[in-house]
Amino acid sequence: MIKDLFSLAMRSIFTRKLRSWLTVIGIFIGITAVVALISLGLGLERTIIDQIGQIFGVDTIMIIRQPERPGAAPPLIAIDFDLIHGVEGVAAVATLRSETGFVSKVAEDDAPVRGLLTVVGLSQKMISEFQPFIGEFTLKHGRILTADDTYKAFLGHGVATQLRATIGAVIEIEDQRFEVIGILEPDPEEMRAQAGVFAGQPPVITDETIFIPFALIDELFEEAGAHFFLVKVDEGAQIAQVAEEIGTALTAAGVANAVVMTFEDIQQPISMALRAVQGFLAALAAISLLVGGVGVMNTMYTAVLERTKEIGVMKAVGAKNSHILSLFLIESGLIGLVGGVIGVIIGLLLSTGTAWAVLHFFDIEIMTVISVPLIAGAIFFSFIIGSLAGMLPARRASKLHPIEALRYE
């Protein structure tokens, strides 16, 4: 039965090709916009999350102290490394602390060089375990810090040039002497250690930085601690559980206001913000669907009017009101459905094309996401819009009095 009504509806759609297509256009433009926007949005979201994942690592936990006000840089937090190592599932703990210090080079022949420079205290594990955060150090001369080094430093290329420092030179940081043991290659990427960004810290510009052991930075600058600590969990460990236990351990040890964040915690607000923007854009695009729906309604009213006599005939040969109703509903639903399918296809092409163009012209890679729920949802939604728009015209058709419909000229 439904199948027969379906083919009858198909027939009347196809005999009015031009009008049907024009109506379909009204639907598919809206669906195209929605699908393209959401696909791009999802791609952007996945790209960003992926990049965060690459820097931060999904098996990483960050500990910061609750900022005094939202948005403010968190204050220092001092944690004993052993305390965190004591938690089961913890593989490594690391931190870095960036400060601006008064630095001078003790010159033998020349006039002394001095300035306010960035000094970063690096814990040993930061280099060995959290390489993506800090980037790879490519040495030009000498070596980088090892666990046994004290009062040693290695310098970014820029700062070494500025201080005219060479291997073995002695520099003074906040009146404390350090021996230069390494000088890095010029860093073309400029910004490297981005870890602090998640804790509200500016990224470390390697080229302009003096690196010293973390343990010494407490000595040079007032107040102990760092802005953030990073914890790597054992392979296969439950990150959320480890994070919770760290929290418990910190509370037990009397470290106040510690916030333990996992990758999830960092990724979630970013996702939420992106989704809100996406939702807003999609809602705007969806307004055009409303216009498309009105188009379907208009087409269907015209169809009912045009086919009044046909409706009368169908009733005369035994069609029930419900048959006529379904016939017109199927017809408008089909228009919506076809619009939806075309819209999804064009929308996906559009978003893929845009991602390609962005890669091609701006060299920024945005992933393309083909979301099955989005596709199914868009097609279903356009079918519903078509059906809803056909509701009133179909009702009118089904309620026509057979005699009056037959008399209609």
């Binding site: 009858l8 027939r11 005999t15 005369a316 035994g318 005699i403």
Partner: protein, 228 residues
């Protein structure tokens, strides 16, 4: 046996403040397997009468019985059902669905009675053969002559094997030869299958095919004549 029994049928239409009395008290009994012609001037109520017999419309007053079923006691669904099962219509203007082939037009009433696809196709082919149009099954109405269209619409009227065929000026748009073909077919249906046929016509030649001719004027039967 009387198949159709009309008693005191009236039908009034309101047109603004005035009333049009299309039928003003029709008493008519029609037997099974009878062929009857309804004549009368334009506006005398012939079509209205046919619509009431065909359950397309309900009388303002009076009772109409079809096979002892009083139609005024039926709700809309039941009327539709009765119409679909017992009655076939043939119209002056054919009223075929323009987008459907002859075959599909004949199948249409069977769709609404939920006849299976294969059964439908078979029956439609049989009916088209019966009206002599087997070779026109795939044609659209606009590819057929008037006489052929009317035969298709006759085949469609027969789709659900109704007991009653109601034809409203079936020859009105046809030349006399095509008209005669249609009337011959109706007569054969009556003779061979025992159908009851009511034909509205202005044409005495067409009325001559009937066994009984009634004449309406101003909504009343003014004359009733038996042909021999």
């Amino acid at each position: 046996m009387s198949l159709i029994k009309l008693r005191e049928i009236t039908k009034d239409y309101q047109l603004g403040k005035t009333w049009v009395h299309a039928l003003r008290g029709i008493d008519l009994t029609i037997d099974t397997s009878e062929i009857i012609a309804v004549m009368g001037p334009s506006g005398s109520g012939k079509s209205t009468l046919l619509h009431i017999v065909g359950c397309l419309d309900i009388p303002s007053a009076g009772t109409a019985q079809i096979e002892d079923i009083a139609t005024e006691s039926l709700n809309e669904r039941q009327l539709v059902r009765l119409r679909g099962e017992k009655i076939g219509f043939v119209f002056q203007t054919f009223n075929l669905v323009a987008t459907l082939s002859a075959q599909a037009n004949v199948e249409l009433p069977m769709i609404f009675q939920r006849v299976s696809r294969s059964r439908r196709a078979q029956r439609a082919a049989e009916l088209l053969a019966k009206v002599g149009l087997s070779d026109r099954a795939k044609h659209r109405p606009n590819e057929l002559s008037g006489g052929e269209r009317q035969r298709v619409s006759l085949a469609r009227a027969l789709a659900n094997d109704p007991d009653i065929i109601l034809a409203d000026e079936p020859t009105g748009n046809l030349d006399s030869e095509s008209g005669n073909t249609v009337m011959e077919l109706l007569k054969r249906l009556k003779n061979e299958e025992g159908k009851t046929v009511i034909v509205v016509t202005h044409d005495p030649e067409v009325a001559a095919f009937a066994e009984r001719v009634i004449t309406l004027r101003d909504g009343l039967i003014v004359k009733e004549k038996l042909n021999d």
